[in-house]
């Protein structure tokens, strides 16, 4: 080996050095970061790492009040499931309920109290003490000068002891302005039931045991009253019983989820559902062999509703009417339900009275598979007690403009979003000197608040719930916190109690927190004695209820098969009135609650935004549904942007050609179009509520939100509707196979090849 001169040597050293560095870096690059093991300072008793713990609670994503079981690991909520013991959900849960986790863990939650120091200024963080004292001080002054009534409390629909707490608080303040406001609250149905049967609460519609269901516009599987429970009923009625298969008919201008599930979908002109119902009644009373004492009265009041006359009004053929009437009367037990858009016309209450009267005519009252009347809830007056109607909201707005309202407290309700622009509620709120919001999220209304006292989500707080309508007997459930609070928030009840104490109302509010209040309340329930969870000692009873997540009274209620006097004479349905002339505004706007976003409260949950709409598979956005023929006439195809123009305003949304909607109707989902509701909801889609005309149902004063006429103005622009579905036609591929009738169980197995292992040798 010849000697290496200096340059070569340097070369070698350089090369070696570079190599070394490279090798070092290589090893470094495959090294992964150091992880740590963090022990608990003190081990918690209730759970141990690596093992799931389950807590029972109550879902409050909608007003149905399903019982839930939450799976937690290491103190974090992982999954919400239905509570098998709870009579409403019976172990099942809807998509919305599942998404409750994203309410808890939502990145856009309000993390602590905030206050506007100066009018129109920035919202700045404050401590709870400051916040409470600021509000309490104001309330104290008003109360002292006897102006307690100038305090207004607007809440979402709450039940149980929290509702009681609100009432007590407002009484103490000396104010009667306590209102629960939900856009979708079935106000007119309550009125109808009340007029027809003199009942304050809704009856229990027993889908599970019925054999024939007529639904007039009620999307009972979508969002009407208690979707999960109806789903259970639907399934069991379908093939829960030997040889009996419940059949379902859906009567509505636009096919809803329930319409798709039904055996028959009958499109009837919007607002004429009641007339159709009376048409059926007419046939049942006259030809249906109806002989009860009040037959003559019926005949008299139904005279005008011969199938022929009805057919020409509703657009449903007379044959169909007679056929449905005969099946309805002939198949026992049968059930007629009405709600949704059908109840939100100028003739809403009359319509629902007519529909429910059908149940009376065929004797479906108080029996299995029919209409079962509920005992009054164990606590509180039921949901309709302090429910706000559109009119009462207008009054509030008016008072606010007059300056009669000094303080407005909002709890989780978002009227700025769920009231039409015509109500000018935003402007009214702006007039109120002190607007306080207890919401957990920065929604449209909360954004206008001067003081924000963010409350816990339902998974962090104590509470209880008594489902309304019940399930035929009185039931209730306690909801317990399943995780420790994430942020510097407080339970709504605790906030109220805290306020009361700050106001010095200690004798009226002797409790230190909501949990105590609940225990005291449940003592009374325990004292009534008649409970499913038998326990002599209250402590056992309480822990039992909290553990089981449910409590129920065994006693059912019997009620004579009768209607209020004078109802029969007064029965009758006017033809609906719509705002705007049919010449100027050719289409009737049929807004419907989105299956995924409900009335918009679900829009900030990414899971709900990503859940394809069942009927159209559209995600993230709004659309306008048109009948294919209508679309053809207007030369519109999917994705064309159109202005939907009502007398009250305009929204722009892309067209979706929807095969199952009446040609003179266009439908839009409610839920999108938030301007201020977190990153997932803001500035996405449009809100059809804004362009609704302030048409009210005269008897209840509720908003007739299905009674707006609109016209379509193509903009010429196109967008690509974001949807997951492709071509929704089978093209003869027999993907969804059908049989004509329920085959008898004796037949041979339908599977030509039961999946067995393929054995190769």
């Amino acid at each position: 080996m010849s000697s290496i001169d200096r340059r070569d040597f340097l070369k070698l050293v350089g090369a070696g050095g570079v190599g070394t560095g490279a090798g070092f870096v290589l090893r470094e690059s495959i090294n992964h970061p150091v992880e740590q093991l963090i022990p608990y300072p003190v081990p918690p008793e209730e759970f141990s790492p690596g093992i799931a713990t389950y807590y029972n609670s109550v879902c409050s994503m909608c007003s149905a009040g399903c019982g839930i079981t939450v799976r937690t690991r290491e103190g974090r909520a992982k999954k919400i499931e239905g509570n098998p013991a709870h009579p409403v959900s019976q172990g099942r849960l809807c998509a919305h309920g599942q998404a409750g986790l994203q309410v808890l863990y939502n990145p856009d939650r309000l993390t602590g109290p905030m206050s506007r120091s100066v009018e129109g200024g920035e919202l700045l963080p404050v401590t709870w003490e400051e916040g409470i004292s600021q509000l309490a001080g104001r309330l104290g002054d008003l109360r002292a000068n006897g102006q307690g009534n100038s305090v207004c409390f607007l809440s979402e629909g709450v039940r149980g002891h929290l509702a009681g707490l609100f009432e007590l608080f407002m009484d103490q303040l000396g104010s009667n302005r306590l209102l629960h406001y939900d856009f979708a609250h079935p106000q007119t149905l309550y009125a109808a039931i009340n007029r027809l049967f003199g009942e304050a609460n809704l009856p229990y519609y027993d889908l599970q045991n019925t054999r024939f269901l007529l639904s007039f516009g009620a999307d009972y599987l979508g969002n009407w009253i208690s979707p999960v429970h109806h789903g259970l009923g639907f399934g069991r009625s379908r093939d829960g019983r030997d040889g009996v298969r419940g059949r379902f008919v859906q009567i509505e201008p636009r096919m809803s989820l329930s319409g798709a599930a039904a055996d028959e979908w009958v499109p009837a002109n919007p607002g004429t559902e009641g007339i159709l119902a009376l048409g059926l009644a007419h046939h049942i009373v006259n030809e249906g062999g109806y002989e009860r004492g009040d037959r003559d009265a019926w005949v008299a009041s139904l005279e005008a509703y011969s199938p022929a006359a009805v057919a020409e009004q509703t657009g449903v053929s007379a044959d169909t009417i007679i056929r449905l009437a005969e099946t309805f009367a002939g198949t026992q037990p049968s059930l007629a339900i009405g709600g949704g858009a059908a109840g939100q016309h100028s003739n809403g209450v009359d319509t629902l009275v007519a529909v429910n009267a059908l149940n009376y005519l065929v004797g479906n009252l108080g029996r299995e598979g029919g209409l079962v009347f509920n005992p009054p809830p164990a606590v509180g007056s039921g949901a309709n007690g302090a429910q706000a109607t559109y009119t009462s909201m207008l009054e509030i707005a008016e008072d606010a403009r007059q300056g009669d309202i000094q303080v407005l407290i909002l709890n989780q309700t978002n009227p700025a979003f769920t009231l039409p622009a015509a109500a000018e509620f935003r402007q009214a709120i702006a007039e109120v000197p002190l607007v306080v919001s207890l919401s957990s999220f920065m929604d449209e209304t909360t954004a206008m608040a001067d003081l924000i006292l963010p409350s816990h989500t339902y998974l962090e707080a104590w509470g209880d719930d008594f489902p309304e309508p019940g399930v035929g007997f009185s039931a209730g459930a306690v909801s317990q916190p399943v995780v420790s609070p994430l942020y510097n928030t407080r339970a709504t009840g605790d906030i109220i109690i805290g306020l009361a104490q700050a106001l010095g109302l200690t004798d009226a509010f002797p409790w230190s927190n909501m949990e105590e209040r609940l225990q005291e309340g449940w003592r009374e329930i325990h004292a009534r004695g008649v409970t499913a969870a038998e326990a002599d000692d209250f402590e056992d009873f309480w822990t039992g209820v909290v553990k089981a997540g449910v409590w129920g009274e065994t006693s059912r209620r019997v009620r004579p098969l009768a209607v209020e006097s004078g109802v029969i004479e007064s029965i009758g349905v006017e033809s609906p009135e719509f705002s705007g002339s049919s010449a100027e505004y050719p289409f009737i706007l049929h807004p419907y609650l989105s299956n995924t976003l409900d009335d918009g409260r679900g829009a900030n949950l990414p899971w709900m935004q990503e859940l394809p709409d069942p009927m159209t598979s559209v995600v993230y956005g709004s659309w306008v549904e048109l009948n294919p023929t209508t679309a053809g006439e207007l030369g519109l195809v999917e994705g064309d942007l159109v202005e939907v123009e009502s007398p009250e305003g305009t929204v722009v949304a892309p067209v979706f050609v929807y095969p199952a909607i009446m040609p003179n109707v266009i439908a839009m989902p409610i839920g999108q179009g938030h301007t201020n509701y977190g990153r997932y909801a803001s500035d996405r889609g449009v809100n059809p509520i804004e362009i609704l005309s302030p048409q009210v149902e005269p008897e209840t004063g509720d908003l007739a939100w299905a009674a707006t006429r609109v016209r379509l103005v193509p903009t010429g622009q196109r967008v690509e509707i974001v949807k997951t579905g492709g071509v929704s036609r089978e093209l003869g591929r027999e993907i969804i196979q059908t049989v004509d009738a329920e085959p008898s169980a004796g037949e041979s197995a339908g599977l030509s090849s039961i999946p067995v292992t393929v054995v190769h040798s």
Binding site: E81, Q98, P107, L232, F234, G235, R236, E264, T738, G750
Partner: protein
């Protein structure tokens, strides 16, 4: 020589495709289309249970949905006499699965419980399984997905979060099956009927979904499999699926 013997032994295994003479458990699901209401509770339940990412509007616009269980909808007829049918579509756990033969690295295979297993950390992302799957139920991670804090607190620790370039699909909630087996083993018994339910079955409000072991003739799923309405979607492809559908009953309402 042990390596050679080893190799030869394995070669024998490979000559026989990855099917079993019989399964230990044969997990099966039946879906009653007459009960299914298309409410999509199952979809969200699955998304919550299995750490299925939030794809975002852009991703969905590009057609990259990830939900392991989806509801397909098929219109029939024209207005006014038109019907809409829903059919939940999820991995059929075929006993003769095309996807299993094609994966070059055996990242997807059939296990002794009749499950069509997907081993995420073995997957190299050729995506051929998705091509071979006639049911379109295999979903590919086109990029790393992100959960805005604190949404990630909800992630299920029993299910791994998949990284970019990995194929994923329905597992019949293997983590729950594993848990049930664990408990059963403690009590020295076999997993009984109803001990384990995937998230979708558990949540279905209409009780349209039934899950169980078809090796056990008493199990609820065996009963409903023998219903005359039972059928397989795309039977002509002959993949022997473990998901059995029950035909929709069509009667005029009278």
């Amino acid at each position: 020589m042990s390596f050679i013997d080893n190799f030869l032994a394995r070669w024998q295994e490979y000559r026989e495709p990855g099917y079993y003479k019989e399964f230990d458990y044969a997990w099966t699901m039946t879906i009653d289309l007459d009960r299914c209401t298309g409410c999509e509770a199952c979809v969200t339940a699955c998304q919550a249970e299995n750490n299925i990412p939030i794809v975002g509007e852009r991703g969905l616009a590009q057609g990259r949905e990830m939900q392991w269980m989806r509801i397909e909808r098929y219109w029939e007829g024209e207005y006014p006499d038109i019907k809409l049918g829903f059919i939940p579509m999820l991995c059929q756990h075929c006993d003769a699965a095309p996807c299993e033969t094609v994966c070059p690295v055996s990242a997807t295979y059939h296990n002794q419980d009749g499950l069509n297993a997907q081993v995420y950390n073995r997957c190299i992302g050729t995506r051929s399984c998705a091509v071979y799957c006639p049911y379109e139920v295999r979903y590919f991670n086109y990029n790393n997905h992100h959960w805005d804090a604190p949404l990630d607190e909800q992630l299920n620790p029993d299910v791994s979060v998949r990284e970019k370039g990995v194929m994923e699909k329905c597992t019949f909630c293997i983590q729950r099956i594993r848990q049930a087996k664990d408990t059963a083993k403690d009590e020295e018994r076999r997993v009984g009927d109803g001990d384990v339910q995937p998230a979708c079955v558990q949540t279905c409000p209409a009780e349209a979904l039934v899950f169980g072991d078809r090796n056990d003739p008493q199990s609820q799923v065996s009963q409903s499999m023998n219903d005359p309405r039972a059928y397989h979607v795309l039977e002509e492809v002959n993949t022997a699926p473990s998901v059995v559908y029950l035909k929709k009953v069509e009667t005029d309402a009278g």
